[in-house]
């Protein structure tokens, strides 16, 4: 029983950074912008959060700094692709290359030192319930925030007028423009939200998941988050299932290494990436399903005329 509880708690932790980043990217892709820079924005968030926590000791400031760092880098993306009409694929890659270099440079002084970590919230009574308390009420605030944001985004997209406008822009930006909606402005806001969420996901890595700074510590999670959005077919609640699945694979590859099984650890470390490819293939093979859900204008530039 304890093993099972530990398993659930660990998978929740491993899936949270994926979920945070993927929620942001889902909103970005629903307005038909493809930002491949999630990895770079997560790295920026991770180092900004860690450095701020170490320097000030305040976790609030650390989270704010992480959100700001992710959002700042996403502004660069927005200016280049939305205002200056640059290629989205190339700009997203540039974000990742820059984020890698910048976080490594700033982070050089923070390797191997400690910073305050996000505390687990202890809710009186609820957290003390046997089994359920551990499974449901034993997490740090970002885990709950990720779930709450997911619900909020799902509700926003499906049930609000603004969500409808956002989806309309993603599916037919010219028509939305003719109706008078500010296509570029709304896309800017969505990209900013994506950057902020990626920054937060990075902070979760450096302040809660493995509370240390190490170069390239995101280790491809930003790319897994991108795969997750495709996996979900752009539907919020499927993100949660995907995040648990990928988080589960990541946790198991670590767990099995810890057991000392006679499989080379490099193979186990490669497992999450292999798993991502397999899942991506399984989900993509149904072309019709992908075409049905995919925002029709995804990756296409828009320029207001007249």
């Amino acid at each position: 029983m304890t093993i099972l509880i530990n398993l659930i708690v660990s998978i929740m932790a491993a899936s949270t950074p994926l979920l945070l980043a993927a929620i942001g990217e889902l909103v970005v892709e629903r307005v038909a912008v493809l930002n491949l820079g999630v990895e770079g924005m997560m790295l920026m968030g991770a180092i900004a959060g860690f450095a701020t926590a170490h320097e000030t000791g305040s976790l609030w400031l650390a989270l704010i700094a992480a959100v700001a760092a992710g959002a700042l880098l996403s502004v660069v993306f927005a200016v280049l692709t939305l205002t200056l009409q640059a290629n989205q694929t190339a700009t997203g890659l540039a974000l990742t290359i820059f984020g890698r270099g910048f976080s490594a440079l700033v982070g050089a002084g923070y390797v191997g030192i400690a910073a305050p970590t996000l505390p687990k919230i202890h809710i009186p009574v609820l957290s003390d319930i046997p089994v359920l308390g551990a499974v449901l009420f034993s997490y740090d605030p970002l885990v709950y925030l990720a779930l709450a944001t997911l619900v909020a985004v799902a509700w926003f997209l499906a049930r609000t007028h603004r969500g409808l406008i956002l989806r309309a822009i993603g599916d037919q930006h010219d028509a939305a423009h003719v109706l008078g909606y500010k296509v570029i402005r709304i896309r800017y806001l969505a990209v900013l939200f994506g950057g902020a969420m990626a920054g937060l996901a990075g902070a979760y890595m450096s302040l809660a998941y493995t509370p240390l700074w190490a170069q390239d510590m995101i280790a491809g999670r930003g790319w897994v988050a991108l795969a997750l959005v495709t996996f979900s077919a752009w539907r919020p609640f499927w993100l949660l299932i995907g995040a648990w699945l990928f988080g589960g694979i990541m946790y198991l590859s670590l767990y099995v290494q810890g057991l000392g099984v006679p499989v080379p650890s490099a193979f186990l470390s490669a497992l999450p990436y292999l798993g991502t490819v397999v899942v991506l293939v399984l989900i993509s093979r149904d072309r019709r399903r992908i075409r049905l859900h995919r925002p029709a204008m995804l990756g296409r530039a828009f320029q207001a005329t007249g």
Partner: protein, 362 residues
Amino acid sequence: MLSLQPRGYISTFWSWGSPVLALILTAVISGGIFAFMGRPPILTVYTFLISPLFAPDGLASLAVKAAPLIMMGVGLSLAYRANIWNIGTEGQFTIGAITAGGVALALPDAPAWALFPGLMIAGLAGGAIYALIVAWLRTRFNANEILTSLMLTYIAQYLLVYLVTGPWRDPEGFGFPQTALFSDAAAGPRLAEGSNLHLGLVLAPVIAVAASLLLGKTVLGFQLRVLGQAPRAAKFAGFVENRLVWLSMAISGGLAGLAGMFEVTGTQGQLTTNISPGYGFTAIIVAFLGRLNPIGVIPAGLLLALTYLGGDAAQISLGLSNAITGIFQGILLFCLLGSDVLILHRFRWRPRQAAKPKGATA
């Protein structure tokens, strides 16, 4: 207010002027960042971009770093022209190094005339086959090549770690994660006696010229360009998209594998866990900076090679982390993509009022 107007045509001047503008902007922005970090901006930019050229053996080191970047950049420019986004060249580079390194380790006594061509074929084939996995996943299962090629890069790196720390580890290497040194025959011919100027330095520009001819003078090149610019037209013309995906993945992957082969046999002489300082990702910038034109990739490759030397120079003489190489590369790509707006657009000053309909202003 400043507004952006479509030119209605492609500006030839700006398609080549944009990289120059981008380089100037990059120097200014990175100088600003250095100043912000409390470093003398002009001296730092000078140390980073100019001083490596005057160092002893500076040009030789530049060529050695540029060769793999040019080879990979050429392959990527063909693929990107066709809108096929292979971003896993880092992984294909690694696999090419592994296959070539494996052959070199298996045949320590083979004569150079037989071994060296064999290594080239092994590297080429390794990279190409690894890239073809991506092509297969895309054409058979519709899987996005950006994500699969990147995931395969991580897998290739772990495979290298496994081999170098496991079955291929040098038994006399004091437990270090490295293989035995390759035989002298594996190093191939040298351009100058006793230097590390390997055959790849000559081959890289030759490949660039060949690719340029392929792109400009053959039906295949035409098909790649049409597929990139007008996928529907390509379909109506009866071009088989899947075939083009396979071909451009094989070419870009094969060249990446060849680059990996030259890097480990020509300059490093053994496999370690750390064979590439991100050449595969830098090659993406090289391809864009070279305007996705194989000839343009040559100067672009030299420039990006300089950023690696500059990173080392800044580390040695200014005590900065060599991570500034990555920052500089990122800013350069940002500036380039931003400057490219001028190819199709121009900036115009337009008074705000003029845009409003009559009577709207009080």
